[in-house]
Symmetry: D3
Subunit: 192 residues, 6 copies
């Protein structure tokens, strides 16, 4: 591939990485057929790599409360507001797959207020967007509104933590100029 | 203390926490004389607690490149822009101690452009603020400008990663309504 | 299709439309295999329909100066900033086809500053975005900058006029809740 | 007149224009006593000229639903937000004449929220301003609010379409640096 | 006149005012032929009235450095950005008279960047607008830029102080809903 | 002290000041033990100095309606939004003393929405912040909301006037680069 993995900062060679990081990367490659660029970009800093993916997995691989597709909706909506190439395109792909819906990611990326989602999911994204864009203004009325849609403490924490974690992730991706792999653009768009 | 640790979300009892988390908390208490509220608030989610502090320590406890005081400057400047009580007040205290300067934290919190810092530190904070507030607009000219002040790839990554990590941290603190401990307000203000 | 053409305002039946409008719609259907929803939504007002498409064609069907693909780049970039479902998704499809590039539309929609475009195209989009978002601040220095990339009066007018026309179009689409047809999401993503 | 018609882009000579455009311009001159600069500026592009004025007339010359003065109120309010010299000053003149009110245009241009208008007109301008400035956030609650003031689908479309059309017009005028004719400043200020 | 002097807060009767304030008001009436509403609105608070007009006169009645017309340009430009009815319309009138120019106030109110002013006046207004809208970002480069146009310390202080004083004035006028007297709208528009 | 009183504009020598101004400065020094830099910075312009402090005292030294501590809360909250070093740090000190509360100023400076204040004080600061940041949008609903908390016309005027006066003060301080005296940082932090 002629395109770089990221526009800034060198990407370490796989065989010079610590074993645990190389093993994780090889496992992802085995499963997905390619190495998502986020793994190679963050491998520049092994300790941060470990913390980043531990945090990511704690939030995104859970299956209670919010569905995995709903978690990805939060990522796509907030990452689009932050104009993050990698996160919108890579997590857009994951959202299409998890929601089994080929159009939902583009809808949420452009304007989540107009997307074909339930009123409960709309309330979830309204809350997530406020965390992402104006967390300093979050008040009791925001908690009251989201609770009205049946979200409890566990789900609200998840929504807030995912929006917050991708506030971190979007910034790293934008600073490093991390590129989404070409594979992501088409994933989940065609019926299996 | 009559004030809660955080306005939202329950704080788990110390003796019900996983051993590693309780041990870390007790070690901090031993060292500082009190338990900073961030530890008790995040203990609500042990896996996220572990990832959060691993990430934090990887960025803030390093001593190469940026000084520890400079790292705290980034935290205070960006957390103030995000209007985060816990981070401005707790890290303001740490900044005063690490910089051995009783006024620098308040200066940076109010308006870092007017603070008594070096031009190099000003360039560091300009870059950090752009990562925090408009990372989607970071361009080659920003890298050129900060490089002109002698920062290399290692330091630039640190600046960006600290600003990004506290983008996460500020949002969690604002959503949970995490309170700074009373102890922080005075720390580092009096000569030893 | 169970989804409405637009969320607000009734869509007139084809057989009750003025002949010229019905003929144009049938011609589009013949060529594309479906009727893009913008035609049915705007047919609510025949006179505005005629003016809208006359304006559109005057700007988008020209082939001198800017290429047709570049014209669509302007539409996608500015419509994304305006969060317009119909325009980003429908014109994203047209851009993929005209540029013969399956990833360019998503790249420009998320963050045109990071897209794989030439410096000249970047200057074109910078100017278009300023017209779209802050035309009141356009000054001689903007003209000087874009001229430096080889754009002459004819091309600059085109860039400005396209950004301006879609400022109109995006607002109409957002107010009417105009939906992109399902066909657009996949167009131009697969090699012919 | 020593001042140019527009700061950028050449203005074509009247006798080199297509007949229909020259005829329209001469008719306006006959009626008004001068040629408003918008006609000469847009004549640079005959096809766009025709579409522009066809669109304009379809929206502004109607007399059902909104009054002509109310249509001009929308133009003045939104054009002022967009800081458009030509539109605020020329349509301010037309508003004064159509409303037979020498102060209403200045009031609306400075701050429509403080102007001496009816609550119904205030609701009309609130909706128009949201279309002009944040159409992506228009939601059912905005339609509910404006309906409460007695506006039906026909009027709401008109409000939205006028605000949208002048989103286009304001941008063209700002980019070309189109000047309002000196005649406009005083029109409608003195009793007949 | 049926319109109130201000929408909020009572206006004291002239004969119940302290002598010095009543005298000033009568003197203005004598000179202008009417009592500008700002005098009656602020008379609600005699001590603040005295301080306000002392400050105003210190800044606006000087004739060294900036001309009186230039001082009014600063008022009109910044008050328009703050959408202040009273200040734009009343000081617009004064500007027309002091500049002996019937169109300059409307031009500056709509978009000072497009007004027929000198490059030096443009630099003056750029600086004033930054003071008015983003004083926290004023830096050495702003002083360097304005000095380049020949402004010295005395003039720069005046520009900044006028923009600052009307930041106060505009807010008071907006909160009280202070109305410009009808007389202002036409003042200075006709040749003497 | 090696630090200047203000970064821009010369500070006049005490013995060259008009008697009334020198007397006021000496009286302050007598009472406080030092001369707050605002006195020396503004002495550059004796007439403006007199008007400024007359206005200040009329608003801040009253003791009816709002308490003196509440008046300082308004100063700290709005000055922090305007990022004014002098005002946040000097008035933060005064607030700590008047409220007999060593932490309240830092809380309000960082995010008044999270400070330990009463709902009535929160309403007061919400109103003050709207005056400071968006006075052009103040409407009847804002008056209704603040009245609901028991504030009458006298208090509402005070809130608005204090927020407005510090809109002026913050801008002067930011343009002159006025420095808070070192003494302010610690005042009111320790129990007497």
């Amino acid at each position: 591939m002629t395109q770089p993995i990221a526009r800034r900062f060198p990407t370490p060679a796989l065989d010079r990485l610590p074993d645990d990081i190389r093993d994780r990367i090889l496992a992802v490659q085995e499963k997905s057929g390619f190495v998502p660029n986020v793994f190679l970009t963050l491998a520049y800093r092994p300790d941060e790599f470990r913390a980043f993916f531990a945090y990511h997995d704690a939030l995104m691989e859970k299956d209670s409360g919010l569905t995995k597709a709903e978690r990805e909706m939060i990522v796509v909506a907030t990452s689009s507001a932050n104009q993050c190439h990698y996160c919108v395109i890579a997590h857009g792909a994951i959202l299409r797959i998890r929601a089994k819906n080929p159009v939902i990611a583009d809808q949420i990326a452009v304007n989540y207020r107009k997307a074909d989602i339930t009123p409960r999911q709309r309330a979830m994204l309204d809350f997530a967007m406020k965390v992402s864009r104006a967390a300093e203004e979050i008040s009791e009325s925001d908690f009251a509104e989201i609770s009205r849609h049946g979200f409890g403490d566990e789900e609200i924490w998840d929504i807030a933590a995912i929006a917050s974690f991708f506030a971190l992730s979007n910034r790293i991706a934008n600073v490093t100029g991390m590129r989404p792999n070409d594979e992501f653009y088409m994933m989940g768009r065609l019926p299996k």
